[in-house]
Symmetry: C2
Subunit: 337 residues, 2 copies
Amino acid sequence: MTTNIPAKEMREVLTALFSKHGFSKEKAKLLAHVHTENTLHGVNSHGINRVPYFIEQLQRGLVKKDAEAKKVEGFGNMERWDGKLGSGVLNAVQCTNRAIVLAKENGMGLVALRNTNHWMRAGYYGWMLAEQNCMGILFTNTEPNMPAWGGKEARLGNNPLVIAIPRKKGHIVLDMAMTQFSFGKINEYKLRGDALPYDGGFDGQGHPTKNPDAILRSKSGLPIGYWKGSALAMVLDMLATLLSAGRSTYKLGLEPFEYGVSQIFLCMDAATFQDGDLREKLLEEIIAYTQDVTPTGPNEKTHYPGERSLAHKIENEKNGMEVSEAIWHRVNDLLNN
Amino acid sequence: MTTNIPAKEMREVLTALFSKHGFSKEKAKLLAHVHTENTLHGVNSHGINRVPYFIEQLQRGLVKKDAEAKKVEGFGNMERWDGKLGSGVLNAVQCTNRAIVLAKENGMGLVALRNTNHWMRAGYYGWMLAEQNCMGILFTNTEPNMPAWGGKEARLGNNPLVIAIPRKKGHIVLDMAMTQFSFGKINEYKLRGDALPYDGGFDGQGHPTKNPDAILRSKSGLPIGYWKGSALAMVLDMLATLLSAGRSTYKLGLEPFEYGVSQIFLCMDAATFQDGDLREKLLEEIIAYTQDVTPTGPNEKTHYPGERSLAHKIENEKNGMEVSEAIWHRVNDLLNN
């Protein structure tokens, strides 16, 4: 059962909720904005649906509401920040903005952030960069939730990766985890009694499978491209850990709850080469070429990364967002009780 | 049939061959070194096996032996270079070295190269960076050789991506194309009469398949992770094209042969934060954790990216390289006739 919520109402309810949990008015508004924006973009799982878990993490003391991220080291266009275990969203917004400043000054800038928390929807920060006419590469490590190729036990995070490119007619924002399907998506297939359309994880014997039950039991998601996504997830964790001098997926796995992750914010100022018209033309050529194809099925279409996210936002701003009734009651209960 | 060739002999033969084709002694030696090094690392397909094709591209006039790559624009830590359609290997070595200089000066540097040619084994430049104690992200676009998700016709390059991290006990170098299997590998399965172990491309109806014959007929490789690798290949092409103001996969597909590709060399100086001992410790922790697992099969083991490449090099330096007899005869014929 879903209910239709306008963005304005969600922002107000969430601002009040985060204020009640001790965030300053300004921070509560920003947190509410990001969760609402993620839901507007159609990613409820990392928008409104994550709010109760975020409140739990606050109550467990794993997210510190009064923490202020701090620059700890800097050299040229690279900086290291310490998130002091504050809100992952607030820290990531701050470090994205800092990477933009470094890029506007130097052409390119990098912020490596340690001791931060879940940033909810990774793509949000890609859209932030693109709105400032910047390109970027962003990633985070996570607790272990998939095996490295060749072994049975979970040793890698799904380490979401974002690549963003500004575009006048709609930004390009790739936002992808290193697992083929999220556990949320696998659970949807299980509830419908369907097999996955492609291998999505491992069974108890360590073999790739389409069976959602087997994957949920083994808690082992499949890396995209089998050995290739396994290797990519490993090096993203290494880069995030080494550049930030922060906690690796290994360290994150030593704790019962995930907290204190490491993240990278790499930003390139698209205005550096002062050829905005050429850039738009080259992008339109690539998109037109990619979409000028025979579809593989009656409902298939080739999309550029970010295309559907933008369409969701336009639709949801006009008509309100479809939100799970249970989640919306839960959020309102948290506010009122 | 293979023959055993020591590295010294290969270097001498190739230096003579490239000299004969008009390269200066210095450039001929460097080209010979890179092709030999790629073969030492076990990647014959992008080492010795590629030499005849490189000579053909020279003879077609698509690779210009006298070209000198040139910096065309620069701002802060980002530069644009024009490869003038010279040798992809020589241009990539020059731009890798330039990115290292920019990184040593600024913390981080980026060179975007246009109008260049096939750089052979992408990983070579990752090893170059790591040898200079640098981390890096490198990629190239290619002619279209796989469909974008949802469409039947080839619209994306397999756009190899390299991520390199220096390490005292053996560098971490991820070197992966966006296709699940190379066409060379698919052909090996066909010759053995075997199916691929996982989906590796599309059949004539645009459906994923393990049948090597069907894939070789359709010329459509499968992106790693289906829609995810499709999106990643697309944004890598966009970044390479926009940052270099070079030719996109779309433009490369307009010509009968691939030439004039676009490449990115992003380099971070690992010495920036002056914590080399901590870096080594964090890396060893991650590798040990990843490898402390129950193998999925009797011959399985979890590797870090670059581990097998280094083992090949050590083995091949000691015992010589296994090279196809046909290829070795062809190369010697090119030199002597």
